[in-house]
Symmetry: C2
Subunit: 458 residues, 2 copies
Amino acid sequence: MEKVPRFMYFGCLVTSMILNLVFLMNLYGGGQWKVISWSRQAAEYAEAVEAIPCSGHGRAYLDGLVVDGEQPVCECNSCYGGSHCSDFLPDCVADADSGDPIFLEPFWMQHAANSALLVAGWHRMSYRFSDQSYISQVLEMHIRKLHAKVGNAVTDGRFIVFGAGSIQLLNAAVFALSQNSSVSPAKVIASAPYYAVYKAQTELFNSVNYKFAGDTSLWQNNTSDNTTKFIEFVTSPNNPDGKLNKAVLHIENAKTIYDHAYYWPHFTAIPAPADEDLMLFTISKSTGHAGSRFGWAIIKDEAVYQRMQSYVGYNTMGVSRDTQLRALKLLSVVLEGEGREIFEFAYNTMRQRWERLSNILSMSKRFSLQKIAPQFCSFFQKVRGPSPAYAWLKCEKEEDKDCYSVLIAANINGRAGSVFGAEDQYVRLSLIKSQDAFEILLDKITNLVAKEEGTKSM
Amino acid sequence: MEKVPRFMYFGCLVTSMILNLVFLMNLYGGGQWKVISWSRQAAEYAEAVEAIPCSGHGRAYLDGLVVDGEQPVCECNSCYGGSHCSDFLPDCVADADSGDPIFLEPFWMQHAANSALLVAGWHRMSYRFSDQSYISQVLEMHIRKLHAKVGNAVTDGRFIVFGAGSIQLLNAAVFALSQNSSVSPAKVIASAPYYAVYKAQTELFNSVNYKFAGDTSLWQNNTSDNTTKFIEFVTSPNNPDGKLNKAVLHIENAKTIYDHAYYWPHFTAIPAPADEDLMLFTISKSTGHAGSRFGWAIIKDEAVYQRMQSYVGYNTMGVSRDTQLRALKLLSVVLEGEGREIFEFAYNTMRQRWERLSNILSMSKRFSLQKIAPQFCSFFQKVRGPSPAYAWLKCEKEEDKDCYSVLIAANINGRAGSVFGAEDQYVRLSLIKSQDAFEILLDKITNLVAKEEGTKSM
C-alpha cells in the first residue's frame, strides 16, 4: 500500500475541523448549547412555508389550502393574482373597507426570531391556570407594564378581564353595567358617527336587561328619567373620524364604556393616561393581530369586574390559552426596548400614509378629509401631526349625496356613512391595511381627483 | 519542529469526520436539508422549558410564572408540592370535581414531534381568511375527515360552524333556534341529570327570546301549547351518567340540540354515526385540549347555520386563528394512522380506570355506580365494556342523603347531584383528570370502602 503524504492528512483534518466548526455554529448558534430535537420538525416546516415565494404581494400560511403538490398556496393581497401573486389586476377595486391592521405585518417580519413561538402538543390542556383562573397572570403583568410604558392608561388598583377581542368585552361590559335593569331595560347609546357593532351586537343579542336606544344626543337633555340606566359608548380616538371623544351624558344614572381600541401612539397623540371607570383595549389595533382575537378591559369597580368575568366564563370559558400565549409573546417583543420600536414604526407608517392622502385631497374641491389638530404626545414627547386609522371622507357636492356610490364608481370600496349612524355624504376609508392596498387606494383617489374640473393645480 | 506521526493525523481525521457525521445527523435529521434560522430561538426555549424537572408530578409552561431566576416554575398536580413537585401532600383532598381532560396529556407527550407547532409573529393577522370567512377551510376538511374515520357523525351535506369551545355554541344554537320567539319566549329544557351550564348560561344571558324552563319531563305531556317553541338539550353520552340519551319531546314545535361532547370511542361504544339536525362537538373531550377553547357545530338547516354564524361573528368575530391553527395540528396527528392510536390509548386508559373503580365499589354496600351495558362499537369493531368520563356515584343509605358531604368528609371532592338538577344522593366524580389525580381518588375511595361495616370481602 502506498503511503498517503502527511500534508494530505493535514489538509483533510483542517477541512474537517472547519466543517465541524460550521456545524457547531449552526447547531448551537445563539451561544447556548442546546440540541433541537422534538421541536425541529415544526421549526423546519414553519421556515419552509415562510420561504414559499409570493412575489411580495401575498403570503403562504401553515394552515393554507394545499391544491397542487404539498405546499400551501400563496394567498394574494387584493389586486394581485396568479399562483405566486405576481399578476397585477389593474381593473380591480381598491379595498378600503375593513379595519384589517396589516400595516404592522412588516414589523413582525423584521422581528421574526423574537416573535416566533413554539407550542408543544401538551401546552395548557386544562380549563384553568394553576390559580384556578382563566387568565394568565404573566400576560396580565405584561399588559400593566405596557400601559405604564406607553402612558395611555392607568392600571394601578384596577381589575383586568380578558376577552376574545374587545368585541366580546363590549357586550360583557353592557351586560355588567345593566345589572338590575330588567324592569326598565338600560338604554345603550353612542354618538354618531359610531362603530356599527355597538348597535348591531346589542340588538342581535336582544337582552331583557338592555336595548340600543340610538344617538346619545337624543338623551342629552333627558334629565327627568331617573329610573332608566344609560350606558354610553365612547370611542376615543373615534372610529371612524379619529376624534378624542369624551362622554356626553353627565347624569348619575349614566355609565360609560370607553372603547380605547385606537388609543395608541401610532393613531393619536397620547395627551395623558386614560383613567376612566371601564376601558377597553385590544391587540387588533396595537400589535396588529386582529385574527388572534384578544382584548382586555380595565375596570375600577369590583362588582362590575366580577360580572364581566362571569359573562366571559359562561360565554367561552375565558380566552383560549393558545391566544393568551401568543399575546404574551407579542407583548414581550413590544416591551423590548421600552416599546419605542413598534410604535415608531407604526406611527411613521400611518403618518406617511395620512400626509400622502392629505396632499392629494388638498387639491380637490369635491372631497374633503376630517381635520385633526397637531397635539403634544406624552409618549413621543413632542407635538405630532395626525396619523388616524381611517379617513372620514366627505363628498362636498350636493349631487354627491351618496358618497359611497361616487367612490365605488371609481373602483374604491369604502364604508358608507350610514353604517356609522351618520350621513351618506361621508365614507370611511381604511388606511391600516397592507402597503399594497394603500398604494392602490391612493392611485385610484389620485385619478379621481385629477378628473375633477377646476382641480387646484396638481 | 518534530514531525507528528502519520497515525495521529489519521486518528484525528477519523474522529473529526465522525463528529461531522453526528452534527450532520443532528442538523439535518429527518432526511431534509434545512438549516433552522429565525425559528431556532423559539424551538430552543420550548425544549428548555419542557426539560424543567417537575418529578413527573407537574409541568412547567412557556407562560408560567417566573419567581426565582429565569425559568418558569413547576405547576404541580393536586396533592403534590415543592419547587419540583416532589413532595406528596398526604392529607390533601382528592380533586374529582372538574372535567379537565388531562388523561390525554401522556399521548401528546409521546407525540411531541408531530404535535409541536411553530407560530410565526405574522401568522394570520387579518380578521378573515382569504375566502372572507372566519373559518379555516383546511380545518373544516379535517373535521369532516375525522368524523368519517371515527364514524360518530354524518357530515355530508351539513354546515359547520366553529366556536370557542362547545360552550359558546350552546348559546349560539339556542339563539338560532329561538328565532321569531320574542312574543312567547322559547322554553329551553333538559332531562336531569344534566350539564349545569345549560341552565346557568341561559339564565345569565337573559334573552327576550328564550328562557330556561326546567326538566324536560315537566313538558312531556304538554301538547296543547302550539305557540311556544321548545329547545331540548340532549347530551349523549350524558354528562354526568354516560347514558346514550335520545330526545324526549317529539312534537312539531320542539327543536333539539345534541351535545355530543363525549361521543368519542374512548368514552362510549359508537353504535352508529349520529345524524341529528344540530350536533355539537369539542376538542376538549376528544383530543383533551380544554384550554384551547375549540368546538364545532354540525347543522342540517342553512338558516340555522346562518344564525349561528351571525351569533359567533357578533360575539367574538369567530374563533381565534391561533386556536384554529392549533386544532388543525392536533387533528392532523389524530388522523395519522386512521385515528386508531389516540382512541386506543384513550379507551385503554378510561377502561382501566373504570374497571379499577368498579372493582373497589363492587365491595361496597354504601356506594354504587351507574350501570352501563357492554355494547358493539363500530369504531373498534367489537363489543366493549363501559369507559365513561364520570362516575355517577350514589350513596345508597338513607342517612347519606347529602352524598357530597359524605365524600368530602373522606377528603374526596366531587360535584353534588343538585348541580345537575338531580338528587343530592348522587355525586359526579371526574375520571378524566391526570393519572396522579385518579390514583389519589382511588386510594381515598378504597379507604372509605374499607371502613364500611360488613363490606364484602376486600
